[in-house]
Structure formats: C-alpha cells, structure tokens
Symmetry: C3
Subunit: 257 residues, 3 copies
C-alpha cells in the first residue's frame, strides 16, 4: 500500500470526476489532500476531451441527469480507448428505474476497471435483492459472494464497502477492516473513496492491489482523524479527515497504535 500511495503523490494524477453535485467540493478537496489533481467537466461538449487529458475517470451516478449521463458515456468511452482507468460508482442504482437503466447504458458502452458500491448496490447489479434505504444499504448480505459475482460478470474489480470492505477480482478476494463509524455520518465518504481508488488505479501495478490499497489507506485515515483531540462528531471530524489524507501510511499507523 505504501508504495502505491507514494506513486500517486509523485505523479499527481489528474482525475476527471463525473460525480454527483452533493459531493463535488468534498471530492475535489479529498483528492487534493491525497496528492492527486481533480478536474470536473460534465458537459457532453467537453467531457471526452477532459477524459483524454486525465489519468483516470470516475463515474458516479448519485445525482444523475440525462445530460450528465451522456457526458459520462462520452468520457468513459474516451478513457477506454486511451487506456485510462475508469471507476464506476452506481449510487442508488437499485432505487429507481432511471438509475438502473442508466447503469446498463453505461456498462454497455464503457468498461469499468473497478465497480465500487455498497452491498445493496452491488447485489442489485447481479440480481441479488437486498433491502436498501434510499442510497444506503441495510445490512451487508454475503459480501464476498456479491463482490465475486460482480467481478466475474463485469470482468472488473469489485469493491464492496461496509463495516468490512471486500475487494475481489472474481478469483481472489481481499477484506479490509480499517475505517471508522464517523465516515458513515459524512456525506460523500463513499463517493470520495471512489475518487481515491481512481487516483490509485492511475499508477503502475495490479488493479486488485491498487484498489485494495486505496480502501485500506482511506479507512486508516478515517480512524486516525477520528482519534484526534477535539473531534466530537462529524463536523469536527471532517477537517481532521482531510488533513489525514495528506499523511504517510506510516504516520497514520503509528497514530493508531
């Protein structure tokens, strides 16, 4: 993990985020803190051009509109053609027909290197129905089975987030237990993780390992931030979390001992 985080910071990859309107600011600040460089272009007129300039493309359907969907597909196709990694976060995909169909339209035209979501979202993608509440999963089901099926079906790396995170390429499955409950009280915590995974994918290495490094580092940063003095809730957690995303893995680890 250490090496992957170092590479990101050395290369400062430009990450094109086609993401939801709720989290744009937080995702941009989180990427900057982590050592990447965010860019966001949601117009179909230039989403593909920006994708070609970038080192990674994140597609997050959290506040999808038809216009943004077109831009996402243009950007994703351009990234696929140029060999630039693409991460899809199917936020609320099970919640409405519009989102379910939009996801299908995207994956028919864009190959994702990683699909990241919670248990309810990923389960829905492979026909397993779990209870959901809005865009949030209720319970985690059989995470390893779900992640494995998503990885095989979409020929991708599946990242299933929850109390325990599961990362799978369909053959190998890794689990991660870093993290902190305050993350679930911060809007866009999952969305920013999608951006951080995209940043990690942009450097050399195996996708499974890079996705796992992102998830592990992210959870460590959350735990470190939550342990800082003065943190009494989600509001005081947020500034510390952005600071933690700038830190070396070693620093986070020592701070948690």
């Amino acid at each position: 993990m250490n090496e992957i985080v170092q590479k990101v910071r050395a290369q400062e990859p430009l990450i094109h985020n086609l993401t939801n309107a709720v989290v744009m600011n937080f995702s941009a600040n989180g990427l900057l803190a982590f050592g990447a460089s965010p860019i966001m272009a949601n117009a179909k007129e230039d989403a593909a051009d920006v994708a070609k300039l970038s080192n990674g493309v994140l597609i997050n359907i959290g506040t999808l509109t038809e216009a943004q969907l077109e831009a996402m597909i243009e950007a994703g196709k351009a990234a696929n053609e140029a060999g630039i990694p693409v991460v899809i976060d199917p936020v609320g995909v099970a919640a409405t027909n519009f989102r379910t169909e939009a996801f299908q339209r995207i994956v028919e035209q864009v190959h994702p290197d990683v699909i990241k979501g919670n248990a309810g979202e990923l389960a829905h993608l492979v026909g397993i129905e779990l209870e959901t509440k809005g865009v949030d999963a209720v319970g985690e089901g059989n995470s390893q089975e779900i992640a494995g099926k998503v990885a095989v079906h979409f020929q991708t790396i599946a990242v299933l987030t929850g109390k325990v995170d599961t990362v799978s390429d369909g053959k190998q499955t890794l689990t991660n237990e870093t993290g902190h409950a305050l993350l679930s009280k911060v809007t866009g915590a999952g969305c920013l993780l999608g951006s951080i995974i995209t940043a990690c994918l942009s450097v050399e290495g195996e996708n499974l390992e890079k996705a796992y490094a992102a998830v592990k580092y992210y959870g460590m940063a959350a735990a470190y931030a939550a342990s800082q003095s003065g943190v009494n809730g989600p509001g005081t957690f947020l500034p510390q979390f952005l600071d933690a995303l700038t830190m070396e893995p070693d620093t986070l680890e020592k701070g948690l001992m």
Copy 2:
C-alpha cells in the same frame, strides 16, 4: 421538542432534497448529523420515484432551472399522493419573475405542509411588499401578520425565520428566539433548516408542533456551537454546528446555561 427529535433519530427518515446547488453538501451533512438520511435526485426521470421511497420532500428554489422545476413538481405531486410531507422554501421568490412564476406553478400542483422563508419571501407570497436584498430580507416587517396570512392562504404551516422566528397555522402563532448571529454568516443556514423541518414533519404529531420543534432545536444547536471554545467566526463555527446537530436537546440546553 425532545420527543420529536428522539423520534427522528429512532426512525432515520429518508429526506428527498430538491434544493439549490450551493447548499447540497451542507444540507446532506446537516441531515446526517441530525439523524436523518438525505437523498437528492433532480432529474425529472426519477425525482418522483425517489419521492415515493422517501419520508419527506423538500423543495428549495435557490438555484432553480426549468429542468429542476419539472422535477420538483413531479416529486411534490408524488409525495402529496402518497401522504408524504412536503416543505417548500421559496428562496428569492420576490427577486425575479422566473422565481415568482415558478412558485405559482409549484403551489398550483403541489400542496405544501410547510412554507418556510424569510420575511421578504413570505410577505411577497401574500402581496405585502417588503424591501429585500437578493435572497435576503431587510428587516422583518410584521412577522406574525405575514406568517398568519401565508398559513391561511396556502392552508399550510408558515415558518418565518428571522431574529425571532414565527411559526403559524393561521390560528395559533408561536415565536422562537433561539439562534445565533453566526448562522446568518453561513450560506445555506436557512436552507438546511428547511431540510431539518422536513425530517421532523416525517414523524407522528401535529405539524405546527413539529415545525416549531425543528426551529427551536436548530437555534439551540447554533447557540451551543457558537459558545464552543475555538469558535472565532463562521469557519470555525461550521464544524461545531454540525456536531451540535447530533446532540440531545438537553445537552444543548445545559451547555447554554
């Protein structure tokens, strides 16, 4: 008030926010802190589906576009049909013809359980002209008269915010003096209150009482946050305010004694 806040926290209602782009992140974080679950869907393709899944719908016209207006009407109609509470925040309704007419189009098709605004906005809705500056009121006029007229005219609960907040169902009028001047230095403070009122409306009880509880609690949280050490302005106030929104009414009250 205590009981209403407890119920929200026990039920974690899903609140669908069709709100302005400036405050989406703050509103989502504020709802999470308060114990509700935010969702935002502004596409006409799925705004109604999300409304049906939700426990309350907030409509805030602060950065209205024609496309969002259609989504708001779809979501509001679906909520009315399903008996889900609807709150309308007519931000800047007096500022432009587009907003004035948009509000009319909404209330012709959607019945609001609460209309929340400042004195200038609410006065405009019932033909009383007050001086306004952009989206902000200048002075508060005769708040009780204005709130009462709005409540009667729209058969709703009127929440008029200001130094003193006025909550009226047209017969009974309650006033609230909790709050803090720093709230007026934070963008979206009024908008998030609209979301918090929507969360409170989603639990059992009388609408007048629930709206009043939201307003009173919100002001107490602001005063508590402002009293924390290290708060020297709007920037340091914000993290403390989100933390305060997680707290028990009793804790806030004791902290203010």
Copy 3:
C-alpha cells in the same frame, strides 16, 4: 487596501456568481465572511434579472455547460448595460475547444472589468502557449508580459495568480507576494478570489487598485489562517481561512509579524 475592504463591509455588495458547481458553497461562504452577500442564479430565465439587482457579476467557466453559458452571457450583458462590474475567470480555457470557444463567445458580447486566471489560462488568451495540467498551470512563464498583453488586448485589468500575483492594466503592473502554499491544496481557492475581486470592484475607486487590494488581502488572510494553532493541513486550514476573511487588514498584518 484598508479603505477598499472597509467600503465593501460597509456596503455589503450583492455579488452574482455564475460559477462552477465544485466551489459554489465555498465561494458563498467566503463572500459572506468577507462582508459581501452572495447570490447564484444559473438559469437563462433569470440570470440577467439577478445581475441587474446585483453590485457585481462573476463569470467562472470551471464546470461550464451550454445552458450555463447562455445564462452567463445574459447576465454579463445586463451587467455591462447597467454599469455593474464583471469579472471573468476562464478556468481551464486552454484545456478543451469547448471552453476556448465559450470564452470567445463571452468576450464577444460581454466586456470584463477584470480577467483573472493562472499563467497558463491567461497565456492562452493572448496566444502564448504554456504547459498546463488540467485546470492548473505548470510554472508561471513571464507573468508580467502575459498579464500586460491580456490587459491591453481585452482592455481590462488582468490578474494573474501564482506564487507571485501580477495585476496589470496594460500600463502599470503591480505584483503581490502575500499568500500561502496551503491555498493551492484547497479547491476553489482561485475561484473564491474571483468572487472577492468582484466584491472589491463594486465599491468606488480605480479598478487596478481595487483588484490589487483584493489579491493582497486574500493572500494575507491565507497566511494568517495557516499560522493559527491546530492547522496541520488543508482540512484544518479551511475553517481558519473563512474566519480570517472576516478580519481587519490590520489584524491580519499584526498576526503575521
């Protein structure tokens, strides 16, 4: 500078921001902290009406769409006609044809009182090609030459931001060295400066002097915030920076001695 900042605070100008979706919340909070009053209306239906109500219009193309571009042109033309200052921030203008052409469409119809950008953006406007990375400049080139050419070509004040900021009316060129490295780790730091410049332009005085005052004050606030105890990165910097934007120039200066 002192006098200009005082005038803004006395007049609380209403600043209409047609800006990118990433920074709307931060720009609004920053303007409020500084003593101005933000408003944002991106619909072509009311962007011009809001511009006429305002004391200054900021146009920032950071997440441009065709619909927003129309609103920007309407707002800019209305402001020009009414003698209200207009600032253009051509974010990423060199990155895509869509943005390059959009900027041309704007300046064919709207006269900017200030054009603010980084070296790569401003260089592009006058046919000097510098290396850029996404929306960020790599190096600063010959800032004084670039700023001077922009000022002459567009008959405007050019504000070129970087480690050293350059402000030019084509005849006179001022440089500013206030600032702090953490600003470059905060998304929208440049965008908010555009809004603060717009606020300063709205009061009486020479445009060159007012733009320079905004840039100098802004950098002082950043340096002051970075020097506060508890600031260890971009996350803990942000609340202190918003607080610093409320302060008197003298307070900032003393705090930095």
